[in-house]
């Protein structure tokens, strides 16, 4: 049934499509014949790593995904969690790594657009975005341009579409020189009984295409671009990157949410990776139905599109809906009022097959299930990297002690990984929708919840996205546990209770046993930490093949945590607010310099074991922080993470609008550099006018706590038990270095813009 002019379909063509010989044999078996050209396209995208999760599925299945508040776990467009009073949050994080490296602005922009659609598809109004972005060293002009492009793209899309970007993380490391990471998170709010799923149910119901017209952009973006390593042909793949139109997305959001207030929509899914193909197959598969579709009806913006192109295009801002029979007109009218195309392209059938016609001829006739739900699953071989044990060796006795702690602190503040990211986030609308209680720059963002009718509630959501890739490179399991623990601790520092998480697993080529081992270990760590902290994994995304010329990125399992604070009016902040407050250190300092920023920056060493995490302690710490905030005993709570205690204290001093100095006397016993820059987990700097209630509550919750100093003056002064100060610097100087870290590096390559910023 090859259409005229199509190439003969054989094993060679299948291989060009990224299919293996085994998969080709399976296709022949499923169909009982050779596929048409269009069918081959369908199989290649549906069975691509990006769409099928074939390398990770068998491991992901072991994750804890349930909880009494979980309304929807992985498998839908996004996860959903109840937050009480009939409300729910819908959230997910997703990668757009490969496209962003090739075309940073559009790659990042469409990453934001895609994750927004995953959220409003479920009936939720998107209210807040986060981004986790990682680049090569910033002294490389290419990576300066990538940073500019990615930030421009995130702002261009998010600002125009009217969803606040309230936080995120940015880091720089040699391992991302060949593959940058762009992970976009979005969260929306919905009435819990109005969550829509991607189901094509109800035989005879109309299938409606809505949104932008279909063009040739993004064909094989998911299958060929995101499911293979980079090499010298990568530049030629630029046409696989899609182009974003945030104005259309904004209209699509409003039209969909308006429709979903009524009862005409049965199921709905966005056309993301693999476009019309993936959305129709997944919707039919979930409902156990089939779909027949007529491609001649698909709105298009390019002439002479072939059925292959129509099925595989990844043109953005498109949705596929199943409506109640007889309500076609009413549904289409809503889209038309928002200036959007909407047409009936097919019907739901009961025979479990996908039948697609073009010019009166059947071009696809495939059983749905073997392509979608029963796609290939691989248990790829995994092997611990041979050099891992070597990497983990660190004899601290042979590491020269820090000779100048103040210089080390200034070096950390001047490092782009720790310097202020204000240059980035002032390009994002952090305020639209009017809910931003705490924006970027602190431990977690805090966003007030309104109902769809605009009624404000006393609920707020705390959001944080975290990962320390160096830890994960040294020990993927321990590193992932640390990422979950840090994300939860950040959320807890506002006073919120961590509820659930989403994750984006960024790794190299899974066909290599060492990479597969990293992935398997990371997933094991993710599951262990999520279970111990009572924060189920409700959604996620896997991005593999982040490799160029065989050099992989560090394993980067990005974790985004969502917490709930109610009432939100009493929350803690992550900086000192006034002089005369007692400073209390929660948690314990250990001699843990393995994998630390200090060791990398000051000694050029990336070695050792990452700091260990006591998940039971973390849970007690969450309880303590929530209690102290609820009782109004806590003004400041700031997580101590990479960079250690000295960096965290400096951040407390200049984190607010006004500088606040501090005088600290730390407990002795450890080598000074370990005390100042060690990265022991489970620690929080707390401050309030009165230390006694904090110490009493900490005793009851069995969290180690001790008074370590007071806020005072305009200098940060850190000493140990009566010694001469190790660090004694004006806060204004620390702030100046911190604030210039990014702009001074970008000034050289910019249009002179940053010189005035």
């Amino acid at each position: 049934m090859s259409a005229p002019g199509e190439r003969p379909v054989d094993l060679a063509l299948a291989r060009e499509h990224g299919l293996t010989d085994e998969e080709w044999a399976r296709i022949l078996e499923i169909l009982g014949r050779a596929p048409s050209w269009s069918e081959l396209g369908v199989f290649s995208v549906m069975w691509s790593e990006h769409c099928s999760y074939k390398s990770s599925k068998c491991h992901l299945r072991k994750l804890p995904t349930r909880g009494e508040h979980v309304l929807q776990g992985p498998g839908e467009n996004a996860g959903a969690v109840a937050i009480g009073d009939g409300l729910a949050v819908v959230f997910k994080i997703e990668s757009h790594n490969h496209p962003s490296f090739i075309e940073p602005k559009q790659g990042a922009a469409t990453g934001v657009g895609g994750i927004l659609r995953d959220v409003f598809t479920m009936g939720a109004r998107p209210i807040a975005s986060l981004d986790s972005i990682r680049f090569g060293p910033l002294d490389d002009p290419k990576h300066q341009q990538l940073l500019r492009g990615v930030v421009d793209g995130i702002g261009y899309y998010g600002n125009c579409v009217g969803v606040a970007t309230v936080g995120g993380e940015t880091s720089f490391h040699e391992c991302y020189r060949g593959n940058i990471l762009v992970n976009a998170f979005n969260l929306g709010v919905v009435e819990a009984d109005r969550i829509f799923l991607a189901n094509a149910s109800g035989i005879g119901n109309p299938v409606i295409y809505a949104g932008s017209k279909t063009g040739r952009d993004g064909i094989h973006g998911a299958s060929l671009l995101a499911s293979a390593e980079f090499d010298e042909t990568t530049e030629q793949k630029r046409p696989t990157v899609q182009v974003g139109d945030p104005f259309t997305e904004k209209c699509l959001i409003e039209a969909c949410l308006e429709l979903m207030r009524g009862d005409d929509v049965v199921g709905i899914q966005d056309m993301g990776a693999a476009g019309l193909t993936c959305s129709s197959f997944e919707m039919a598969s979930r409902a156990g139905t089939g779909i027949e579709m007529d491609l001649d009806r698909v709105p298009r913006r390019a002439a002479n599109l072939t059925p292959y192109e129509l099925l595989l295009s990844e043109s953005q801002e498109r949705m596929l809906l199943v409506a109640r029979a007889g309500r076609e007109r009413a549904v289409c009218e809503v889209f038309e009022r928002w200036g959007l195309d909407a047409v009936v392209v097919g019907r739901v059938t009961g025979d479990g097959r996908m039948r697609v016609r073009f010019h009166g001829e059947t071009v696809v006739d495939i059983p749905v299930d073997p392509v979608a739900a029963s796609s290939p699953e691989l248990d790829r071989p995994a092997r611990e990297p041979s050099e891992l044990r070597e990497r983990q060796k660190l004899d601290l006795a042979s590491v020269a002690p820090e000779e100048d702690p103040a210089a080390a602190l200034l070096a950390l503040l001047d490092d782009p990984n720790f310097g202020s990211k204000a240059w980035i986030w002032r390009q994002y609308d952090q305020l639209v929708q009017g809910n931003t209680i705490l924006g970027p720059g602190g431990d977690a963002a805090l966003v007030r919840v309104k109902r769809e009718d605009g009624t404000p509630t006393r609920k707020a959501l705390a959001l944080s996205v975290d990962c320390n890739p160096r830890y994960c490179w040294l020990d993927p399991r321990a590193g992932t546990i640390a990422a979950v623990a840090e994300a939860a601790r950040n959320v807890a520092c506002t006073g919120a209770r961590p509820l659930a998480l989403t994750n984006c697993l960024n790794f190299g080529n899974p066909e290599k046993p060492e990479i597969m081992w990293q992935l398997r270990e990371a997933i094991a760590g993710l599951g262990e930490a999520a279970a111990a902290l009572g924060t189920p994994v409700v959604s996620g995304n896997v991005s593999l093949y982040n490799e160029t010329h065989g050099v992989p990125i560090h394993p980067t399992p990005t974790v985004a945590m969502v917490g709930l604070l109610e009432p939100w009016e009493s929350h803690a902040v992550s900086h000192f607010t006034a002089e005369g407050h007692a400073i209390v250190l929660l948690g314990e300092c250990r001699e843990e310099l393995g994998g630390s920023a200090w060791l990398a920056l000051r000694r050029g060493l990336e070695a050792g074991l990452p700091p260990r995490v006591d998940l039971e302690h973390e849970r007690r710490l969450h309880r303590l922080l929530a209690r102290l905030v609820r009782e109004g005993r806590l003004v400041t709570a700031h997580d101590v993470s990479d960079g250690g205690l000295a960096l965290a204290l400096a951040e407390c001093c200049f984190g607010g609008a006004d500088d606040v100095g501090a005088e600290l006397s730390l407990p002795g016993g450890l080598r000074p550099d370990a005390l100042l820059f060690g990265e022991s987990t489970g620690r929080v700097i707390a401050a309030a006018p009165d230390a006694a209630p904090i110490l009493a509550a900490a005793r009851e919750e069995r969290v180690p706590a001790r008074v370590v100093g007071r806020t005072a003056g305009a200098r940060l002064r850190i000493a140990a038990d009566g010694s001469a100060p190790w660090i004694d610097e004006p806060v204004a100087r620390l702030r100046a270095v911190f604030e210039r870290a990014l702009p001074r590096r970008l000034a050289a390559s910019g249009a002179g813009a940053e010189a005035r910023a």
Binding site: G155, N159, C160, V161, G162, D245, P246, F247, T248, K250, C251, W338, G339, W425, R426, Q427, Y428, D429, Q430, L431, V432, Q433, G434, N435, T436, I437, R448, K450, G454, T455, P456, E569, A751, A753, E754, R756, A757
Partner: protein, 235 residues
């Protein structure tokens, strides 16, 4: 009744509606751009921020052709108070209801941050709750916010006292880095000669709740509310 216009691509429409209705307790309604008349009983018109029609052309250049803008012009000519923030300010300039234009920011970047503005004219209908010289803290968020006008227009704005808000530092000092976008004469907000049409780049609707953005925005929106409640500008 306060009519909050809603263009395709408006983003702060719901926020302005929320500020007027839920926070300040006014009777406010969203009005779709395709309406050719304002609802009966409209006492003030608010043009919200956002990206009308995506702002893929010059900001506000498309929205000025929306059917509702004819009604807004008639309303303004009859003396009715009209307030435009951010994209709304851009639309008012494009529609010729205010002089000048908003150009790309000096550093070519979108900028979102809290800034200070000095109240230059404290008078109804928009600034009666403030006093002249008072410094307000309000957020801006725009890519095209650099107010620009001909020398003659600027001279006239200054001579007539039409400059309502000027960027300044926390102490009220105008000039230099206190200006976030390169606006000429540090202009953050202006009114027309009759004083009933007011455009500003900062977002008062995002500063009405105290713990979320402060309260200084309520001084501006509250002034308009006072004016309407006092029976100002009946149509």
């Amino acid at each position: 009744m306060f009519a909050v216009l809603q263009f395709p691509g408006s983003n702060d429409d719901r926020d302005m509606h929320f500020a007027m209705k839920s926070v300040l307790g006014a009777d406010a309604r969203l009005v779709w751009h395709a309406e050719s008349e304002l609802p009966a009983g409209t006492r003030a018109v608010l043009l919200p921020g956002g990206f009308s029609y995506g702002d893929y052309l010059r900001c506000g250049a498309m929205a000025r052709f929306s059917p509702v803008m004819g009604a807004v012009r008639r309303f303004a000519e009859a003396g009715g108070p009209v307030l435009g923030t951010c994209n709304g300010f851009q639309v008012l300039c494009e529609a010729g209801l205010l002089p000048g234009v908003l150009r790309r920011n000096r550093d070519l970047h979108f900028v979102c941050e809290f800034v200070h503005v000095r109240v230059e004219q404290a008078a109804p209908p928009f600034t009666s709750r403030a006093r002249a010289g008072q410094v307000l803290r309000l957020p801006v968020k725009h890519g095209e916010g650099a107010y620009t006008a001909s020398a003659a227009d600027l001279e006239q704005l200054e001579a007539n006292g039409q400059v309502v808000l000027r960027y300044c530092d926390a102490e009220g000092r105008v000039g230099g880095a206190a200006n976030p976008n390169g606006a000429l004469h540090d202009i953050a907000g202006i009114r027309n000669p009759a004083g009933n049409v007011f455009g500003l780049m900062p977002h008062p609707e995002h500063a009405v709740e105290g713990r979320i953005g402060g309260l200084d925005g309520a001084l501006l929106l509250g002034s308009l509310l006072d004016f309407v409640r006092a029976g100002g500008a009946a149509r």
